[in-house]
Amino acid sequence: MAEKKRMYIGTDSGLTVMDNRGSGWQHCQDVLAGKFVRAMTTVRGVNTAYACVTKDGLYSTHNGGESWRLSLPGNVHSVAVDPTDPNVVYAGTEPVGLFRSPDGGNSWTELTALKNQPESVTDKWWFPQYPHESHVLSIFVDWHDPRALCVGLEHGGILRSIDGGAHWQDLSDGIEYIDIHTVKGDPVYPNLYYTATARGFYRSDQYGRNWLFSQQGIKRSYFHDLVVIAGRPPTLLLTTANGTPPAWMRKERAQSAIFRSLDYGMSWHQLTGGLPESMERMIWNLSVDPDNPDHFYAGTGEAQGQRSENTDSRGGVWLSTNRGDSWKPIYEGPNTVRSVCVGLE
């Protein structure tokens, strides 16, 4: 009997839950109406999912999306689950803050050492929109040692802790524009790190120190999400566009594309199977099916405050069942999709 799957589609105005019992995706319910669901993650096998709602908090469900509760109030932008212990959850906030829950989101403790950095570091924490506060947009918990944490700050840089968050070190050297969107480690080589920033893709083979620009084959200038799928070599998928979101008001809009690397981020090839060469919408988010690492999901949509003319549809989800070789749309909706993930019952 096929496992039942749930797909959680987080948008800039609510969260849609889809159901798949083996015969395709069916709409299940809409929740968190009107809320900006910026990021999500699921925990395999326990019907648990977490949804970050900006200027509101982290919501959790433990029954496959049927009911949600506010687990951590605040301006939450990111969430990650410890790959070695599904009860341990991290949430990243604005202003810069990192919270840890040891019990699936029932209780939280702030890892205060992160925000207590020297002025030379915190001076770099800034954001273009009022109130000009940076935030934790990406959290990586090391596959090899869960005491090793790495956070990416949107307009702030990269910090890493090797003692579970008691001490942190700023590791932004080498990155010219420290608007960090995603930071990840390699599943096999613990020294290898990757980061997608607003203006470049970088890799580090020194545990996140001394980043090197690595964009061979990429013909785009903006970078957002990155997934790293275990393997030798791993498969890396990167979402890109041209220019920062304000430039997407042009006729061609975001000009987004997905690139794939099969050599540890050294070189990249654009994925065009089923995808336009240049997409008008941004591909905000990528995720991997927990049941099948060949299946990827991509969430698309407009930039905040922008809207295509002559259409009621603003976002969608694409699926690839062959590690990105080909893609097909599986969902269209009225709101921008900022995050998509799949859970198994």
């Binding site: 009022y130 203006r199 470049g200 980043w211 620009f213 041209n242 220019g243 008001m249």
Partner: protein
């Protein structure tokens, strides 16, 4: 300088000694005292840097330095921008499209309210009557707030006005006229009103310091640096000597000539200087 698609060594910004510095002759930079330089000029350069880089201008940052009492600026090159300058200039051009949609509405709904929020807060600091340690905390936050105010005005109206001039042939000329009108409104609120309120707050700090005798009179606070003022409000150590010394040095500086530029020569079409002279000129426009 262009950038390889794969770098072999980590990128680092050029140090001051390798930059080309030009004298900033606009009135907003004229003969700053230590507090003007470390607060107001720092905030202005902060706002300029973040505004220009957020609109994807092809530079890494602007830096300032003080030589014989005169402000010099330098643009730090961006390897990413110069690695694909055509794309970067296209992005800037595309960003300017958004300003043509409804620049007046953006000003009314977003930029003006934010600028006014800062002015209200500066006013609160100026009228703060609590303990000096509390005032020290507020003055410590003043520089970032002032930098954000400059950022908002430059990104929202000053830089767009220059970009709209650049694209003048493509646009309705009314938009350009409107943008320049908004620049004058923004400068009146930030350069004039904002600075007056900040100076009022600093003079208030000076009055407290003069009352306890650590400086001779309230205006002497402007001969201290921003960080020193924050510390002094707590430590209340005698600073009359250092103020006298700085006043004397300022007189000596005034007698020195000031070269138009320092450091290696920069070609006039250097990407890092893209539209910067035009933006500085516009910041100096008076009604």
């Amino acid at each position: 300088m262009s950038r390889e698609a794969v770098s072999r060594i980590p990128w680092a910004p050029l140090p001051d000694g390798q930059l080309s510095w030009f004298r900033a002759d606009q009135s907003i930079f004229a003969t700053p005292r230590p507090l003007d330089y470390t607060l107001e000029i720092h905030a202005l350069v902060f706002g300029l840097t973040y505004a220009l880089e957020s609109i994807e201008f092809p530079l890494y940052a602007l830096r300032s330095r003080l030589v014989h009492g005169r402000v010099y600026l330098a643009a730090v090159p961006s390897a990413i921008a110069e690695g694909d300058l055509a794309q970067r200039l296209k992005n800037i051009h595309d960003q300017s499209v958004r300003f043509t949609r409804n620049i007046q509405q953006a000003w009314q709904r977003q930029i003006k309210p934010e600028v006014e929020t800062y002015n209200r807060w500066f006013d609160e600091v100026a009228s703060f009557t609590g303990p000096s340690t509390g005032l020290a905390g507020k003055i410590r936050k003043l520089r970032r707030a002032r930098g954000n105010q400059w950022f908002t005005a430059i990104r929202g109206v000053v830089a767009p006005a220059v970009l709209l001039r650049q694209n003048a042939g493509e646009l309705d000329s009314d938009i350009g006229v409107l943008a320049e009108h908004l620049v004058r409104s923004a400068l009146a609120m930030v350069r004039e009103r904002g600075k007056a309120l900040v100076n009022l707050a600093l003079a208030g700090a000076g009055e407290r310091l003069a009352q306890v005798g650590v400086i001779e009179n309230c205006a002497d606070v402007f001969w201290l640096e921003w960080g020193e003022v924050c510390d002094l409000l707590q430590s209340l150590a005698d600073r009359r000597g250092i103020v006298a010394q700085r006043k004397l040095e300022s007189e000596w500086d005034a007698a020195e000539g000031a070269a138009a530029s320092l450091g290696p020569r920069l070609p006039p079409d250097a990407p890092r200087m893209y539209l910067i002279p035009e933006i500085l000129r516009l910041l100096d426009v008076h009604s």
